[in-house]
């Protein structure tokens, strides 16, 4: 099997979304219920939050079923609240439903520490990671819904475009409204899960707006919407690929450019004096560019200034955060300073280095280091080692003491090995060394070249 390019499935799923959403978008625009998809998506999300509360995972079919049930309830609410009473616009009820469903979902997630992430998951699908199985399911269900709407197209168009006329013709408007919202809820719930709220909203509304700018015929609008959406999807995915940005926002950004272009063309076409309209647009465009330029340069200079001021006092950078190995020098005086460093690893390395150096000027500092209370016994071994090599006999006593009384067995072994080497009696047991040191300590002379005591 050859590897499909990354954009294959995202593009395919976007095409499927475009096909059905452009159609539904025209209905939504005619009904003036622009935010109904957000409200239904949020109500469906509330449904899956409920399932989640009972312990079902996001991907579980039960969760999905639960969100569909909530979507149906939402569809019913929106069909019965569509009245001819002008005092309460339908959009107000849809907005309230959105707010109430959001608040309820947050409240339900409050006791669940995973809740916030879960809420984010439901609303933030990404076409980038869509699976072939999801594309197949979508295709089947969307086709079925599309076919259903095609069969009953007269009824659906009538209740959306002219509900009063439809009622006069004996159509049960409320029932067909319910069926409309039911199919819409099914589509939106699935789409939002796959593509995220933003892209679904854009693919729903933007093509309908483009179509409405140029025609009042439903079919012509549909074709214009499809064409612009496909162009936006192709360009958007190209931008996404070129700059490695998430695809959905890229498609939306391209659509923004298309909408602006279409709006300008529509304005010029409709204006009585085309030359004047064009100069007005040029003026407004120039003003916008200037404002943007001024804002960017202001923000740049402002941020540069603030950072300069804030830098020194800014964070609590602790000097200890720097790895302790840094800053240990190589000269005797630097190493001597290292003996009293606060980091044990630095003290150990300093003692090791002083042992290699064997410099008599370090003897005093090493004697002091040996007297540090509570010092780690491994460091004491290294300090005693260095002290002997710097000519301090106290170091040998310390080694013998550590070999006898060291807490860790490995420390005792190490101290004994070092002491035996200094005594030029490798492999000698501790009692023999102790006895030898007792009578030889006064007369023994340190031979730095050989690294042993001479009697």
């Amino acid at each position: 099997m050859t590897e499909l390019p990354w954009w294959f499935w995202p593009f395919l799923v976007t095409l499927i979304l475009i096909a059905i959403h452009t159609y539904f978008g025209l209905h939504v625009i005619s009904r003036k219920v622009l935010f109904v998809d957000l409200a239904i998506a949020q109500i469906a999300a509330l449904g899956s939050t409920v399932a989640f509360l009972f312990g079902f995972e996001t991907a579980d079919p039960v969760t999905y079923g639960c969100s569909l049930v909530f979507g149906v309830i939402g569809a019913w609410v929106f069909s019965v609240t569509r009245t001819r009473d002008d005092r309460v616009p339908h959009e107000a009820i849809i907005g309230l439903a959105f707010a109430i469903a959001s608040a309820a979902a947050i409240l339900m997630s409050a006791e669940n520490p995973h809740g916030a992430e879960h809420l984010r998951d439901i609303m933030a699908g990404s076409i980038l990671v869509v699976t072939p199985a999801e594309v197949r399911t979508d295709f089947v269900i969307y086709s079925a819904v599309g076919a259903f709407h095609w069969v009953f197209r007269k009824n659906f168009l009538a209740v959306s475009l002219d509900p009063e006329g439809a009622a006069r013709d004996g159509l049960n408007v409320q029932r067909w409204d319910f069926i409309f919202y039911l199919t819409f809820a099914l589509i939106v719930t699935m789409s939002v899960h796959i593509a995220g709220v933003l892209l679904v909203f854009c693919l729903l509304i933007a093509p309908a707006v483009c179509g409405a700018l140029f025609s009042s015929n439903f079919r012509v609008r549909l074709v214009i919407g499809w064409v612009t959406s496909i162009i936006a999807a192709i360009l958007g995915l190209m931008v996404s690929s070129r700059y490695d940005w998430p695809p959905a926002p890229c498609i939306i950004a391209v659509y923004a450019a298309i909408l602006v272009g279409a709006g300008l063309v529509g304005k010029i076409r409709g204006a009585p004096n085309k030359g004047r309209a064009m100069s007005e647009i040029a003026l407004a465009g120039g003003a916008l560019v200037l404002t943007a330029f001024a804002m960017v340069s202001f923000l740049r200079s402002e941020v540069a200034q603030r950072f300069r001021v804030a830098e020194p006092g800014h964070a609590e950078v602790h000097p200890e955060h720097v790895a302790p190995e840094h800053g240990l020098g190589t000269t005797a005086s630097e190493l001597i300073a290292g003996l009293t460093d606060e980091h044990d690893s630095v003290r150990e390395k300093a003692a090791e280095a002083l042992a290699a150096l064997g410099s008599p000027e370090a003897a005093d500092a090493l004697e002091k280091a040996l007297a540090i209370r509570g010092e780690d016994e491994w460091i004491r071994v290294r300090v005693a080692d260095a002290l002997v090599r710097s000519g301090g006999k106290r170091g040998m006593e310390a080694l013998l003491d550590l070999a006898a009384n060291g807490e860790a067995r490995a420390v005792r072994t190490e101290a004994l090995t070092v002491a035996a080497r200094f005594a030029n009696k490798p492999k000698a047991p501790l009692p023999e060394l102790t006895a030898w040191w007792k009578q030889a300590s006064d007369s023994a002379r340190w031979d730095p070249a050989a690294g042993v005591f001479r009697d």
Binding site: W6, P10, E117, V129, S241, P246, E320, S345, A408, R409
Partner: protein, 329 residues
Amino acid sequence: MRYSILALLMFVAPFSSPAFGLEVVATLPDLAKIAEAVGGDRVHVTAITSAVQDPHFVDPKPSFVVKLRDADVFLISGLELEIGWVPPLLDGARNPKINAGAPGYVDCSRGIPVIERPTGEVTRAMGDAHPLGNPHYLLDPLNGVIVARTIAEALGKADPAGAADYAARSKAFGRTISEGMFGKALVDEVGESKLDRLARSGELDAFVAKGGVALGGWMGKMRPFAGKKIVFYHRSFSYFAERFGLVVADYVELKPGIQPGPSHLADLITKMKKEGIKVVGTHAFYDEKVANLVAAKAGAKLLVVPLASTGSSYAQLFDTLTGQFATAL
């Protein structure tokens, strides 16, 4: 009747709080667990976040403010991990004992050798970058020991009568972690602070090879997998990887906290196939879809690991993690 309840409350209220000793609040659950180990029954510890939550983003709840108002000691992870939500909470709590700069405000990152500190200018374009370095230092058990010492010192300042007790418990905690880390036999043989230094300087293997006692514990368990490459979702596992010798070859995220784009994912999958990377690590609170896709396409295993201990002790975190990685690698 109503008055008698009121009278009862007035009588009980002044005694209810100090009976527990010090009130300690920690931002992270593992800080709380270490504080419990160090404080014993002299302290009462509460954690603000739970182990399954993303510590970068926390929605403030009213109870947080109430907890902080009564706190004597406030433990934060520091390194700007909690910068998004701790300052407003402290403002709301109005508790001078734990304001930034007060002795009750304890930045537990003090004394930690921090890694991945960005050099040069840090901008928002770099994503959710941490200008002070990687703040997930508790994933190295040896850093947990440093934190225990810091906490013991802070508790000792707030409750001088217990200072010796805290110091002793912090030492015992260090011993427990060291034994878990290297195995009891090796700690008995060599001593914990020497092993700590050897592990940090990278000389542990050479040292152990010379002696007669084998490396045990978590380090021993992970030793066979040293040098293995893994991919991680976020830069949250650097300390663990560094300590146990794993190599984090790449990240699913393009920049910290920013969702990846398509070509990064494609490159990542190619790279994983080429280098034979078999594990993608992530946390439960990240988008599983993306990590799953990467793992499936690259023929690797998705490993959802905890960022904090879900058990009763800090040490259990490493039992879990080393077990998970040892099975997956």
